[in-house]
């Protein structure tokens, strides 16, 4: 799977999972705060540096097609933003036309520079946020995540359900494919059916055995869990523990400095710092004045 843990010993692997979760939240905060493409590009580049540190490009090389799709949809997004932008600033007139009764008194068919930068900023923002996902999932093993959840005071039963589900999902997939094969051998070929047939009759012969085999498995699992003292009325030990090491502290300090720089920069150039309109929950008297380019 694309997001499954791959063992490694990079600084990113050694980070405390909580730091990594914190980092993802931090990136969301910062990228929503930043509006100009240059600062956003710096954020993106620094995430890419972390990618390189963790060895992710090598791991994801199999998924080149995903990047192509992302790139293409990003380009479409930028193009759409560019063409639909209608606010001030310099523009190139391409093919001007008016739509009758359109409430805005400006013609379509102009390429605004501001529209271009706005679209680019949006795309970089999304890419930044998505790039944090593999930084967490590819470098953190399931037991580590479970321990962090434990540290964050999630109940143990929830953690157990989480890690067992992760453990068994590949098994469910292989069972599903085995069953599908078994039915193909009886001339029941889901992949070759029409959509109507799929809906009408395709899944019963596949889903029934899958369901039965899962039920049987869960019986076995219950025996295995109980005979290993699950739920014993004692205080459970947690062998895996994660301390914040100096790598974590360095990371956190760099993050803090960067955040300070962003806020300072925003205030210096814009006169205020506003993460974005997503701060709807901030009371109106505390909200900075709304910013609309004119």
């Amino acid at each position: 799977m694309a997001i499954e843990y791959v063992a490694g010993n990079s600084p990113i692997h050694r980070l405390n999972p909580i730091t990594k979760v914190f980092f993802s939240l931090y990136i969301i905060f910062v990228t929503l705060g930043l509006r100009d493409i240059f600062s956003l590009a710096i954020v993106l580049v620094s995430i890419m540096v972390l990618w390189a540190l963790a060895g992710i490009p090598r791991l994801l090389s199999r998924f080149k097609f995903l990047f192509v799709i992302m790139l293409a949809s990003g380009a479409i997004w930028v193009a759409a933003q560019t063409l639909l932008w209608m606010f001030g600033g310099p523009y190139i007139s391409v093919f001007e036309f008016n739509i009758p009764f359109w409430p805005v008194d400006k013609p379509f068919g102009r390429i605004y520079f501001q529209g271009l930068t706005y679209g680019l900023a949006m795309v970089i923002r999304i890419v930044c946020i998505f790039s944090c996902v593999p930084l967490l999932t590819l470098t953190t093993s399931v037991p580590q995540i479970a321990v962090s959840l434990q540290k964050l005071k999630f109940p143990y039963k929830f953690n157990f359900a989480f890690s067992t589900a992760v453990r068994f999902s590949p098994l469910i997939f292989t069972t599903y494919y085995d069953i599908k094969d078994a039915q193909v051998l009886r001339a029941h070929d889901i992949d070759k059916m029409s959509y109507l047939d799929k809906v009408r009759k395709a899944f019963v012969p596949v889903v029934t055995p899958l369901f039965m085999s899962l039920l049987r498995r869960s019986d076995d699992l219950e025996i295995a869990i109980e005979s290993r003292a699950f739920g014993a009325p004692v205080k459970r030990t947690f062998v895996e523990e994660f301390r914040f090491t100096h790598v974590d502290y360095i990371f956190l300090i760099v993050m803090a400095l960067f955040a300070a720089l962003v806020i300072y920069g925003q205030i210096y150039w814009q006169g205020y710092f506003v993460p974005s309109d997503w701060m709807w929950w901030v009371p109106s008297w505390a909200k900075p004045p709304t910013f609309l380019p004119t």
Partner: protein, 574 residues
């Protein structure tokens, strides 16, 4: 004598849906350090016995429970499972579903963590448990990446980490290949002999059992019918036949010899068999028939090729070469066994035969048609594959509906489908069960139903992928007899199995796969004459073949591969 560590007194248990008692007045006392093997056909009560020992019955599984079990001073019905878990560790038949953690390490520490044992102590236990099960260095691996044998050893390590004095292994090797079986047996033996752990194991493989069990208990329909050391218990041939449990081949031979010429000792292992038989030869009590030729029905296949692979390769992405340059021809009317360790490529190969996989290089031709040009569903009227697990295909409300599914998909008329359903159910002996709900059938019957479902498609080539997994001795013969029946009607049969005895009894030709290559291909007896080549893919000739090969100097034909052939070759002094 010290107190027994396990005492079972007048134990009876009936499942809520059971028609008879699963366990019927069982009385057993087991001493610390014993290695006890419980034998019995499927349904004899072996698994039920295991689950009563660790308290899962009656805590998790309800039913009518009588009698009592005392484990190391604790009565199971009055002790919570988590306390019993520190006395009794258990491994289950399916290596897959008993492992629940994402890594080997977290798997092993799961139990001790639940008990709240101090961290340092758990780490010590982890190191110890992995060392004795020879899994050290694999802490970070995911249990899913392990081989079958390693998975079972991991399950053992989990039990050991609980520091139990008693280990229960419920058919630990029934789903493993020969190398996995050897691994699990040798680790278990170590745990018992070196570390003094009491072992209670249920198992079908009588030849291995004879090698290391101190004591054999035979169950039949919930009752203990024999209990003693292997030498005593294996002497009672009739009892084993009635209980449908197999004796070691050496013992089978000596039961026959003893009827003519009483040997002094009764051998149960290969070594004992070799020494006992060579003594008889030396004393001239027994000798090879002069000029004896093994009477082998030459394989009577026609010249028509039904299945052919031409310089076929298969590479799984990104670069795992699973099959290398396979060129085979299978003729109409042949019975072929396909053997080799897990991962050798057997299943990958048969999936090519039926078109589920297409070769990445070369061709597969079924009845003159290239599989690349057809889908697996289209090929299914010519070639049938019964997959390993019958539960992966049964879904219908009744047995007849199940069998009718395939032919109906082929678009046959109602009359034709009905005719085929009757015929198929009759072939496998389930005609009385036609209205039965498939999931309610026994495992053996479910497997027969799966065969019937493929038979109803009337393919001319039948492939059985490990029809013996999880089956007892009788179930194995039943299913292979069906295959033989089909073969006698002129169909080609290809069977994947790890059971060498079945191979020698049924197949004319044997193909050995190792690391994706055909390493041997020829008449079965010729293949088993090359133990050194077989060894490279961790296979051995059946015990009787090893006996014959060891006694070659005494004039025994070294190509003997079945007990019957051995019997025929011997004659007694007048």
């Amino acid at each position: 004598m010290a107190e027994p560590i396990v005492t079972i007194e007048n134990l009876s248990f009936t499942y809520p849906s059971g028609e008879r008692k699963a366990l019927d007045n069982v009385n057993i006392a087991i001493n610390e350090g014993e290695f006890v093997v419980v034998m019995g056909a499927n349904g004899a009560g072996k698994t039920t016995l295991c689950l009563t020992l660790n308290g899962v019955i009656p805590s998790l599984i309800n039913g009518t429970y009588e009698g009592k079990i005392i484990i190391d001073g604790l009565q199971t019905t009055k002790t919570p499972i988590f306390n019993l878990a520190q006395k009794v560790g258990i491994t289950l038949q399916d290596p897959e579903s008993q492992l629940l953690a994402p890594s080997v390490k977290s798997e092993v520490i799961f139990g001790p963590e639940n008990l709240g044992i101090p961290r340092e102590e758990i780490l010590k236990r982890l190191a110890y448990a992995l060392k004795v099960t020879r899994l050290d260095g694999k802490e970070a691996a995911s249990p899913l990446q392990l081989s079958g044998g390693q998975k079972q050893r991991l399950a053992l390590a989990c039990a050991i980490a609980m520091q139990t004095k008693i280990l229960i292994l419920d058919e630990p090797t029934s789903q493993l290949d020969p190398i996995g079986t050897t691994e699990v047996f040798s680790v278990t033996k170590d745990l018992n002999k070196k570390f003094g752990i009491t072992v209670i194991m249920t198992e079908h493989k009588s030849e291995e059992i004879a090698d290391f069990a101190d004591r054999v208990i035979l169950l039949h329909e919930g009752k203990v019918v024999a209990d003693g050391n292997p030498h005593e218990v294996f002497q009672n041939e009739q009892l084993f036949n009635e209980s449908k449990v197999k004796l070691p081949q050496v013992s089978q031979l000596f039961h026959w010899i003893n009827k003519h010429e009483k040997a002094k000792e009764f051998p149960v292992t290969l070594e004992e068999g070799i020494s006992a038989l060579s003594k008889l030869f030396e004393e001239k009590k027994i000798h090879e028939k002069k000029g004896y030729m093994i009477n082998r029905a030459e394989s009577s296949h026609s010249d028509k090729v039904v299945l052919e692979t031409r310089e076929m390769w298969h590479t799984y992405p990104p670069d795992f070469v699973a099959l290398k340059n396979i060129s085979l021809k299978i003729y109409e009317g042949e019975f072929v066994a396909l053997i080799g360790q897990n991962g050798a490529g057997k299943t990958t190969l048969v999936k090519h035969f039926v078109g589920l996989l297409k070769p990445t290089k070369g061709n597969v031709v079924v009845l003159g048609e290239d599989t690349k040009k057809k889908t697996a569903a289209q090929l299914s009227r010519n070639i049938g594959l019964v997959l390993q697990n019958p539960d992966h295909q049964l879904f219908a409300q009744s047995a007849e509906e199940e069998v009718a599914f395939g032919p109906t998909n082929l678009g046959l008329s109602k009359e034709e489908v009905d005719k085929r359903v009757d015929e198929a159910l009759k072939l496998v002996g389930l005609e009385k069960m036609r209205k039965a709900y498939p999931f309610r059938l026994s495992f053996g019957d479910r497997r027969k139903l799966a065969v019937a479902a493929i038979y109803a498609m009337k393919p001319s080539v039948f492939i059985l992928d490990e029809p013996t997994t999880g089956q007892d001795f009788q179930g194995r013969y039943d299913i292979v007899e069906i295959a033989k029946n089909l073969n006698e009607r002129g169909n080609a049969v290809v069977m994947i199995t790890h059971d060498m005895e079945l191979v020698t009894r049924y197949s004319h030709r044997t193909i050995v796969l190792g690391n994706g290559e055909v390493i041997l291909d020829g008449p079965t007896h010729e293949v088993f004459e090359k133990p050194d080549v077989l060894q490279t893919t961790y296979l051995k000739p059946p015990q009787i073949g090893q006996l014959a090969q060891a006694l070659e100097k005494q004039g025994v034909h070294k190509d003997i591969i079945t007990v019957d052939e051995f019997k025929e070759s011997l004659s007694f002094r007048k």
